[in-house]
């Protein structure tokens, strides 16, 4: 065994490189900057491109252009930057442009605190762009997740032709940790499906019951159209209500219909536990420590760590919460994801512990809530 010391941001860059990311653009912002620093070391010597945009809007715009030219692309920012990304995110959603977007969350609102952590963007990542279509959001807990989930994020963005978010947090991003890189089983790399060279090409056409259009890059040997306007399969503006409705429905279903394939989670259970703690991100670590302490004290408590936050894994939530008397949701905000869990589990005793002061929620705080 050999350990490597790296921070979460470096691990995301390492995972992106392993996923075949060739293009990165970002605007420096604490606590996301070190992803940009690492991509700048990795990409240019290998023939890739790393750019510093004049602002966040440009940075994500570069990525959308490069992705449409067929390159795997990633960008990274924090609260103020993800706010500026909004219009471009809706472009990526509606026009099916693969892209990995890292949100290294910091304490908000607004410019907030550059060097304090929070999970305050969890609802914003889903709903912070126009149109209201579903997106995929993954939340890493530690260095290993930063690598594996980054690979998964690329795979999902390629498979479903959509933006995929990594919702990380200053407390993972800028915390250094040891990791055994050799011991990590990396998922197989997925590439977007190329359109048949023989068949006529429709940039947003889907054959049979497929939900994701095949891809050709801008620069291919046949002209490719891309547009942010409401379009039909041919990539031209349409006003046909049936065509529009079918397309919107497909954009929704391509993410939700297969969500069970990318519902990532970890469950830690013992016999006789009547209480379940649900957490995600860095807070899952405090929950893990708290659950272990409670068990050592003779109080069996279980833990469910969610790593896919959007689409909300409702089936998993119903299955994994069956039989518990009470459920405690812990998150580093004033109560965002707990709403989704309450919505998925009507009539159940779902309680909440949250904090929004720039400090990690401590295992002791969780224990206090659970001690009768």
């Amino acid at each position: 065994m050999a350990l490597t010391l790296m921070e979460g941001n470096e691990a995301i860059a390492w995972g992106a490189r392993a996923a075949g990311c060739r293009f990165f653009a970002g605007y420096p912002i604490t606590p996301a900057t070190t992803i940009y620093n690492a991509m700048l070391r990795y990409l240019p010597p290998e023939g890739g491109v790393c750019l510093q945009g004049e602002d966040e809007i440009a940075s994500i715009g570069f990525c959308l252009g490069a992705s449409m030219a067929g390159w795997k692309a990633m960008t990274a920012t924090s609260g103020p930057g993800i706010s500026l990304y909004s219009e471009q995110i809706s472009f990526a959603v509606g026009s099916e442009i693969p892209l990995v977007i890292v949100d290294v969350q910091r304490l908000g609102p607004s410019t907030g605190s550059a060097t304090k952590g929070a999970d305050g963007d969890i609802q914003f990542l889903q709903w912070g762009n126009s149109g209201g279509l579903p997106v995929i959001v993954l939340a890493p807990v530690d260095i290993r997740d930063c690598i594996v989930l980054t690979l998964q994020a690329f795979n999902l963005s390629e498979s479903y032709r959509c933006p995929v978010f990594l919702a990380t947090n200053k407390e993972i991003a800028m915390t250094r940790e040891t990791v055994d890189l050799e011991a990590i089983a990396l998922p197989e790399i997925v590439h977007r499906r190329s359109a048949d060279a023989q068949a006529p090409f429709l940039p947003f056409g889907t054959a049979g019951d497929r939900l994701v259009p095949d891809f050709l890059p801008i620069g291919a040997d046949r002209p490719v159209r891309q547009t942010s306007s409401t379009h039909g399969p041919d990539g031209y503006i349409t006003a046909d209500p049936d065509l529009i409705a079918r397309s919107q429905d497909r954009l929704q279903r391509k993410i939700t219909a297969e969500a069970h394939r990318f519902t990532y989670f970890e469950a830690d259970t013992v016999p006789e536990a009547q209480t379940l703690v649900i957490a995600y991100g860095v807070t899952a670590r405090a929950a893990q420590t708290a659950v272990q302490a409670l068990r050592a004290d003779g109080r069996p408590v279980d833990l469910l760590v969610l790593k896919t936050l959007w689409p909300v894994p409702e089936t998993l939530l119903r299955e994994k919460t069956a039989g518990y008397d009470r459920i405690l949701v812990v998150e580093m905000n004033l109560g965002q994801y707990v709403r989704e869990i309450q919505r998925a589990l009507p009539g159940r005793d779902v309680r909440f512990l949250g904090q929004m002061n720039g400090e990690l929620i401590k295992p002791r705080q969780i224990q206090e809530v659970l001690e009768p």
């Binding site: 491109v49 004049e54 252009g65 490069a66 250094r176 040891t178 942010s228």
Partner: protein, 433 residues
């Protein structure tokens, strides 16, 4: 001449008399003049009437958000340097995408920008834009009277664009000027003046003749060709990148020591900027890894890195580290009042089992920990080395780490002169102990 690239199924749909239609025809002529095929061109269009351009041609096309066309075009060009990338935007896109325009000029990336300048927002009701004259009657009431219109060529030249041209949409040389702009290796901008019959010329007098007159009266921008001549951005990027060594992979640290303890041990370093607190924390993590221990390091410092507190919290453990915060440190290194002030509460709650190494002259809150005060200055240690010296001090007692682990950490982290100096500090402390 190669065939026209115009999309016969989608003829231009502009208002009768719109200057944009002439620009469409000239652009097709320019493509034909160059003998280009549709797949060799990408048209990136903005929002507004200029945003319809991509649909009239059989080329690659990307139509995106308002003002952002240059950002997509830059990404495409960097990924596909062989494509001819032509961007169309109006005077609206110019204003809303101002930062992108300036940066594209500064980069000198090989894009051709056609500004379809008709002095107002045609599509939304003829409001004023960044080029509307103050005397014009527009859909923004009196607001245009308060703003000076922008001469985009002067602005772009000042920002570093080498190839600039102002031209009327009615100029018989328009296609030739477009061809020269597309052939130019670098950023080329054509400021193309035309009439908007649907909005602007309903209330304002503007004709091909008056446009020609106005253009003739403007100062030349030809000087920017020489002043801003330089290597194209993408070519330069690839040249710089090719000279870079490949990035080193993250360093794997082989296990070569036995840890001094396997249980979770927490160390808090409290100092100030310039004391290399974060580096000392990293050394402790490397020392832990060299003994097969997991380690985590959580830092706290203000964004002004040369002033204020610097706090590093390091955890070592044989098992996975869950919570990365620190409740009950085994060791606290108190090296500056700024760091001590950040952790007053923690210090006040310390119990007997905690060892505090405290630099002489620092006031600690009352607590039950074992406190050992060290006069680093008297020991001949410079302040930037206090954190390292404090690590050497605990290693000398086999607390948390041992001297061999620390030595390995220094070997992993430093080279040459820096390594020598660090070793000298450690030896000074270890010999003294």
């Amino acid at each position: 001449m190669t065939p026209s690239l115009l999309n016969q199924e989608r003829p231009p749909v502009f208002c009768p008399g719109c200057a944009h239609e002439r620009v469409v025809g000239a652009l097709d002529k320019a493509f034909q003049g160059m003998g280009l095929k549709g797949e060799e061109i990408a048209i990136v269009s903005d929002i507004g009437c200029s945003g319809l351009f991509d649909t009239f041609f059989h080329t690659h096309a990307l139509h995106g958000l308002h003002g952002r066309a240059l950002t997509y075009a830059t990404g495409i060009k960097m990924a596909r340097p062989d494509l001819h990338v032509v961007v169309t935007m109006g005077d609206g896109g110019l204003g809303i995408g101002g930062a992108h325009l300036l940066s594209t000029c500064r980069r000198n990336i090989d894009l051709t920008l056609l500004v379809l300048n008709n002095f107002n927002y045609g599509m939304t009701g003829g409001q004023c834009s960044s080029t509307t004259p103050p005397e014009a009657a527009v859909g923004s009431g009196f607001l245009n009277r308060l703003e000076k219109p922008m001469d985009v060529c002067q602005v772009a030249g000042a920002a570093g664009a080498p190839h600039l041209e102002r031209v009327s949409a009615y100029d018989p040389d328009l296609a030739a000027l477009m061809e020269a702009a597309i052939r130019f290796e670098g950023f080329a901008l054509l400021d193309i003046w035309g009439v908007c019959p649907g909005r602007y010329t309903k209330r304002n007098k503007l004709s091909p003749q008056s446009i020609a007159g106005s253009l003739a009266s403007l100062p030349s921008v030809v000087r920017f060709r020489k002043e801003n001549a330089r290597e194209e951005y993408g070519r330069h990027y690839r040249r710089e990148a090719a000279a870079l060594p490949p990035a080193a992979a993250p360093q794997a640290i082989p296990v070569r020591h036995t840890p001094v303890a396997e249980a979770r041990q927490e160390v808090v370093l409290l100092g100030s900027a310039g004391q290399r607190i974060v580096t000392a924390g990293e050394l402790l993590c490397l020392a832990a890894a060299s003994a097969g221990l997991q380690a985590s390091q959580k830092n706290d410092y203000p964004i002004t890195v040369l002033r204020g507190h610097s706090v590093s919290e390091v955890i070592l453990s044989k098992n996975d580290i869950g919570f990365t915060g620190i409740d009950r440190p085994a060791v606290v290194l108190a090296l500056a009042p700024e760091g001590v002030a950040r952790r007053k509460e923690m210090l006040a709650g310390l119990e007997e089992e905690t060892l505090v190494i405290c630099a002489a002259g620092i006031d600690l809150p009352m607590c039950r920990a074992q406190i050992e005060t060290i006069d680093f200055k008297a020991a001949g240690i410079r302040e930037p080395d206090w954190a390292l010296a404090a690590l050497a001090l605990i290693a000398a007692r086999n607390t948390v780490a041992n001297p061999a682990m620390l030595q390995t950490a220094l070997d992993l982290r430093f080279k040459g002169k820096v390594h020598e100096l660090a070793m000298a500090v450690v030896e000074k402390i270890i010999n003294r102990s």
